[in-house]
């Protein structure tokens, strides 16, 4: 993957997506559903009208942020599979901060902006700290980060659910939900008129992607992170402490995941509930990042594509009798194909499409 050229990566990403969608359509057909109707509904659900587009962009906002979080770590050679958990605790920190401080701060726009800022800072701090844990475990006791981050995902959902259910549920309610955030703590919808999507949210996601790209590509810290990921011995010789780099990488990645959590809590949910019912943005983000070859800027188009797939998939779940889980399976197939670039290189060579340079 590292050796591939930009054009080759792009071709592999497109081919993987198309092949996965094709297999998805064939499975739909083989299960006795209408495959053409499936593809039509997927496209219509993603971009058919203004509210569908708003939904796509809303999902894209989340996937770009979580995708950047994954990309930061993968770029530096660390597998952060725990973005989902970091996103969960980050969003929880936002809701706790806002609910705790709302009574002591003024209401209205000013109060709302201050609360959102403080809530976001809390999310970034908590997300970063939660990601630092597996970083420390990997750096200082050699614990495989793939497994520790997955365990921490399970623990994050379990503990947050427990705290909400036992302590934060308003008296007399049975659903495990916290109280709602105050009305004025929300992002304006602007052109889309959607209560759960805001252009400001998308702008923050795009800014975050660009900012992370600049840090990773143009600063000393970013350079050290990326070199120690790809050329560990070279990095060590040039005086980079590889253990500290692992912890820094994970923390940085978790901070972005925390920001995604804040966005989810403020823009989409407006309260907090059982994390087991949340969308799996943190996992889909792995596919987003891989499709983008772990480049923070590449995450933007990949995030838009997956946002569309997600929105189209949910539309299918509502309107056709094809189960929406299919789209999750298709996302898995995309990851599978992206992981095996050799598959495409070999078939391209066999079909005589370039690839002769070897």
């Amino acid at each position: 993957m590292i050796r591939a050229t930009v054009i080759e990566r792009f071709a592999i990403a497109v081919a993987s997506t198309l092949l996965a969608l094709l297999i998805g359509a064939v499975i739909v057909g083989a299960s006795g559903y209408d495959a053409v109707g499936f593809v039509y509904a997927l496209v219509y659900g993603a971009a058919g009208n203004i509210s569908n587009i708003a939904f796509t962009l809303r999902q894209s906002t989340m996937l770009i942020l979580t995708g950047v979080a994954v990309a930061v770590a993968f770029r530096a050679g660390v597998f952060n599979i725990g973005v989902q958990g970091q996103f969960i605790v980050g969003g929880f920190a936002t809701v706790l901060t806002v609910l705790a401080l709302a009574p002591v701060l003024p209401g209205g726009i000013v109060g709302g902006v201050i609360l959102m800022l403080l809530g976001t800072i809390a999310a970034i701090a908590v997300g970063g700290a939660y990601a630092a844990l597996p970083g420390l475990m990997k750096a200082y006791s050699g614990a495989n980060e793939v497994i520790t981050t997955i365990m921490l995902n399970f623990i994050a959902s379990g503990v947050v659910y427990f705290i909400i259910d036992a302590y934060l549920r308003p008296a007399g309610t049975s659903a495990p939900n916290t109280e709602s955030l105050p009305e004025y703590v929300s992002l304006p919808g602007f052109a889309f008129g959607s209560s759960s999507f805001s252009v400001i949210g998308l702008a923050i996601a795009l800014l975050a992607a660009v900012a992370v790209y600049v840090v990773m590509d143009r600063t000393r810290i970013g350079y050290d992170l990326v070199t120690s990921g790809h050329q560990q011995s070279a990095a060590t010789y040039s005086g980079v402490d590889s253990k500290r780099t692992i912890v820094t990488t994970m923390t940085f990645s978790g901070m972005v995941a925390g920001l995604a959590g804040a966005m989810f809590a403020v823009m989409i949910l407006g309260y907090y509930s059982d994390p087991n019912t949340f969308p799996t943005f943190g996992f889909d983000a792995i596919a987003v990042s891989l499709l983008a070859a772990n480049n923070p800027l590449g995450v933007i188009p990949a995030g838009l594509l997956f946002g569309g797939l997600d929105a189209g998939g949910q539309y299918i779940g509502f309107t056709l009798d094809v189960p929406a889980e299919l789209v999750d399976g298709v996302i898995g197939l995309i990851v599978l194909f992206v992981a095996a670039p050799e598959l495409f290189r070999m078939s391209a060579r066999r079909l005589g499409l370039g690839g002769d340079e070897q």
Binding site: M137, E325, G332
Partner: protein, 351 residues
């Protein structure tokens, strides 16, 4: 020998000692009547909970020993659980499911998961796909297509109630106190697991094929020079790992559970991941992996035990014990000497 190496050598002993110490301290703090916690019934439940984990762990151990990190165990278990339930249900013609149908389900799950792991092996060995990313993909595909297939078959992400496989009762021996109830009136899947554990140990450490498996992961060039096809050994172990994980999944849905549950992270609920930790913890020794699985199984069943002695912790918290235990174990004995060629595709020189 450095401390780290010593701990790695004695990881199981060290780990069990630490967990036991924590349990004793916790027990004293919470005033738990220890003797009432360890009953024959408790051991029985712990063994049952260990079966799916141990099967997947032993398979994964073989794959990793030969140089392929099969991180997709969780996904294969999801498919195993689903296919077992679906095949048994299909074999009965959607009528009342008999014991025979359940056995057909077991066979179906192992065959389908075996075939799926051939695809995984082709991608990672022949097409040199990144093993970690491919394994993650297997997990995602399981999480998506598992509940999808269930919906296509049953109209919902979970199956209707499906009966368990009956215990095998050995006459006379079943009346032996304690051991009789544990071993001679037990699920056939437990017996299979015990056999698999012992055979896996013998093959890996006492036969020529076992040395091939180890060499494929440690020093593939040497094995190649000795005239053994490295990739053929790897194909075999990867298919074995997928098959065992499938059997483990089947044990969950029709061995001890009551059908397939596809909600949330499905009924497999992280056991495939715990299986990986189990064999790391057992230092790539099948018997060690089984004992580690037993430890996690006991942890899983702790809630029931605590309730029977009158301590009620919320299920959402006791359900987290195995995950926390995995973290504690990895931090304490995280250092493992992974076979040196794991993750690298092997290409023979002569062509």
């Amino acid at each position: 020998m450095s401390v780290a190496e010593y701990v790695a050598e004695r990881r199981l002993t060290t780990g069990v000692a630490v967990v036991a110490l924590l349990a004793i301290v916790g027990g004293i703090l919470l005033d738990v009547p220890g003797a009432e916690l360890v009953t024959v019934g408790a051991i029985q439940r712990a063994l049952q909970a260990a079966v799916p984990i141990a099967l997947a762990a032993i398979g994964g151990l073989y794959a990793e020993k030969s140089g392929v990190f099969n991180i997709g165990l969780e996904g294969f278990m999801i498919f195993g659980a689903l296919v077992a339930a679906a095949t048994a249900w299909g074999a009965s013609g959607a009528e009342s499911i008999t014991q025979g149908d359940l056995w057909v389900g077991l066979v179906g799950a192992t065959i389908v998961c075996g075939l799926l792991s051939v695809c995984f092996a082709l991608l990672t060995i022949r097409y040199k796909a990144d093993q970690i990313v491919t394994g993650l993909a297997v997990w995602f595909i399981g999480l998506g297509f598992g509940p999808f297939t269930a919906t296509v078959i049953w109209g919902g992400v979970s199956s209707p109630t499906i009966p368990n496989i009956n215990n095998v009762v050995v006459p006379v021996l079943a009346d032996v106190p304690v051991l009789g109830r544990l071993l001679f009136d037990a699920s056939p899947l437990l017996l299979v697991t015990l056999v698999v554990t012992v055979v896996a140990w013998v093959v890996l450490f006492r036969t020529r094929y076992g040395y091939w498996v180890q060499a494929a992961g440690e020093n593939p060039e040497a094995l190649d020079t000795a005239g053994v096809d490295v990739n053929r050994v790897r194909y075999a172990t990867v298919v074995f790992s997928g098959t065992m994980a499938g059997l483990g999944g089947a044990a969950l849905s029709i061995g001890f559970g009551s059908g397939f549950t596809g909600t949330g992270v499905t009924m497999v609920d992280g056991r495939g991941w715990i299986a990986i930790v189990a064999y790391l913890f057992g230092n790539y020794n099948p018997i060690g992996a089984f004992l580690a699985s037993l430890l996690f199984g006991a942890m899983d069943m702790l809630q029931i035990q605590l309730q029977t002695v009158g301590i009620s912790l919320p299920g959402s918290i006791t359900g987290l014990f195995p995950y926390v235990a995995v973290l504690v174990v990895l931090v304490l004995v995280g250092y493992t000497r992974v076979p040196s060629a794991v993750g690298e595709a092997y290409e023979t020189e002569e062509k």
